[in-house]
Amino acid sequence: MKLGVLSADRPLVWMLPLILMLVAFTIVPLFYNIWLSFHEYAPFKRQLVYVGMENWKAMFGDSRMWESFGITMFYFVVVLSIELVLGMAIAMLLDEDEFGFGLLRSVLTLTLVVPPAIVGMMYLLIEDPEFGVLTYVLSLFGILDKSTPILATASTALWGVMLADVWQWTPFMVLIFLAGLRSLPPEPYEAAMLDGASAWMTFRRITLPLMSKVIAVAVLIRGIDIFRMFDYVFVMTSGGPGTSTYTLSLYSWQQTFSFIKWGYGATLSLFALFVIIVIANLFIWAAKVRW
């Protein structure tokens, strides 16, 4: 059969649609962003003017940037750790062939199909001081005073947002870990039993090393996602109270779209991109992930 330009030995033709999309929606915006970071919008002239390194200099001296960077890092470390540990624990519990476990595993995917903004709305209600379920339960146990609104109190607001993230994305970790766990060979576990290893020892010396690649990939995917988290804070707290939940992505959004500082917003987003590239590559190197 003659396919002409569509024959298999002309890979470029087949790759063209993807290349075009990548160029249009990723490469061009990236370079435009870099170009933007050396310019700023002048409202009176109604045009972008060249400002050189001004945006970059301003950013490194911007205390609000450092504050939001700190909040982002804190959120990143806490949420990633919780999702990792909880995800592994639940995955191990669900790694059974007993009746009903298949159903439980498929139910897990449900949280993943809800748009994050909707989850944010849900938790806004759950954590509402007047009628929120969580507020009610916590006050029953005396953990929280009913007059303390979770999302409007500086010390608890970020934790309230984290809860939504953990609820929605822990199942994602569970699914990835389950896929890994269920493909592990049974023999080393039998050998370990006969060698007298305890459950903890077996987990630490056999499961964890065998799962390291799977864990690394899960951490990488979730890590990048968590670092650029925007939806939850936008919907639930808008960065408040005060600036206590202002993440880096929310801050760059605010600078760009509320304050119409196109250039400074671009600079902030480039900085976030730079940080995540460094962290991700350090991690890939340290965890010896091979693609």
Partner: protein, 356 residues
């Protein structure tokens, strides 16, 4: 070291009954081989001993204690798996030493025992490699080493040599038997290879369909197989079986298969008229121009010191082993003689040995 006893043990997977009412006693320090074709339940029995399968009926007793509900880690058993079951992410050193590490032995003691085992198994230069970097034979030896460093009560081997080439298999047979003789631990060894069973066992337990068909020393099973099945299973080349009838006339007892007539010991007189299968081991016959077993030579195979003659005797294939010097080409008529005492006679209907 310990005794192992199975009391009316049964095992079912759903509606499939794999083992039925099996009873067996294994003495302290014995090397017992569970022999049988695949699917006979031998591996299941081994795994039940280790605690890797539940016992659905009866009792498994180790050292006088019923262990049915005991966790594998508390049974003090070392096992070598068919596919080795090495820890893929650990170096050879840690694979071998893992049980010691679990037992919280000192670093020095672990190192000493691991190196000792590695020396015996010729693994010293591979201690810092991962299992994936080893050949099949080396992995097998790591699995052995892992069992060796244990001071286990019972050693279990699940077809440990089935993935090795013939030469290495012969070598490892000797190694395993030597290991057993040195440690003196009770050993249960599962295989489908009768040569492994014959060469290594103190006692062979031949199984079929979840039941024990015959147990005894290799010599017992070879010399006095209790059934046609055992006779065919044990011995290489396989035993010849000729279908015929016992006849008693003029004071002589004979086996007759059409034109073939063999003298039988007098004691078989009581079974005159019975339809039987007469078993003749290829190694028990001698080349003799006046011999009673006569047939046409189909093919002669040289096996080194010996030659195997494949004959057509009364329409049945018959194998005879003779020294190399007797070699000749196909097409000839050949005759072999046999000592009547070496004939095995089985009831045609039941397949059981007719003992006299």
């Amino acid at each position: 070291m310990a005794t192992v006893e199975y009391r009316k043990v049964g095992k079912s997977f759903g509606s499939v009954e794999v083992l039925k009412d099996l009873s067996l006693e294994i003495e302290d320090g014995a090397f017992v081989v569970l022999l049988g074709a695949s699917g006979c339940g031998k591996t299941t029995l081994l795994r039940m001993t280790a605690g890797l399968e539940t016992v659905t009926a009866g009792e498994v007793v180790i050292d006088g204690r019923v262990v049915n509900d005991m966790h594998p880690r508390d049974r003090d058993i070392a096992m070598v798996f068919q596919n080795y079951a090495l820890y893929p992410t650990m170096k050879v050193r840690d694979n071998i030493g893992f049980s010691l590490e679990v037992a919280k032995k000192s670093k020095a003691e672990i190192a000493r025992k691991v190196e000792e085992a590695a020396r015996v198994l010729n693994l010293t230069e591979y201690l810092d490699r991962k299992p994936a970097e080893l050949s099949g034979g080396q992995r097998q030896r790591v699995a052995m080493g892992r069992a060796m460093v244990r001071d286990a009560k019972v050693f279990l081997f699940d077809e440990p040599l089935s993935n090795l080439d013939a030469k290495l298999r012969a070598h490892m047979r000797v190694e395993i038997r030597q290991l057993h003789d040195r440690l003196g631990a009770t050993t249960i060894y599962v295989t489908h290879d009768q040569i492994e069973a014959m060469t290594m066992a103190d006692k062979i337990v031949l199984m079929k369909g979840g039941k024990i068909i015959q147990e005894g020393s290799p010599d017992d099973l070879y010399d006095r197989p209790n059934s046609r099945f055992v006779a065919e299973f044990i011995g290489s080349p396989q035993i010849n079986l000729l279908d015929g009838r016992i006849e008693a006339e003029e004071g002589a007892v004979r086996f007759r298969a059409r034109h073939l007539v063999l003298d039988l010991p007098q004691a078989y007189a009581a079974h005159a008229g019975k339809a039987v299968a007469c078993g003749i081991r290829p190694n028990d016959v001698t080349l003799d121009p006046d011999g009673a077993i006569t047939g046409t030579l189909q093919i002669a195979e040289k096996t080194g010191a010996d030659v195997q003659f494949h004959l057509d005797v009364e329409g049945t294939e018959f194998v005879a082993v003779a020294p190399r010097s007797a070699y000749r080409h196909g097409g000839e008529r050949m005759s072999f003689a046999i000592d009547p005492e070496k004939l095995h006679v089985f009831d045609e209907a039941s397949g059981e040995r007719i003992s006299v």
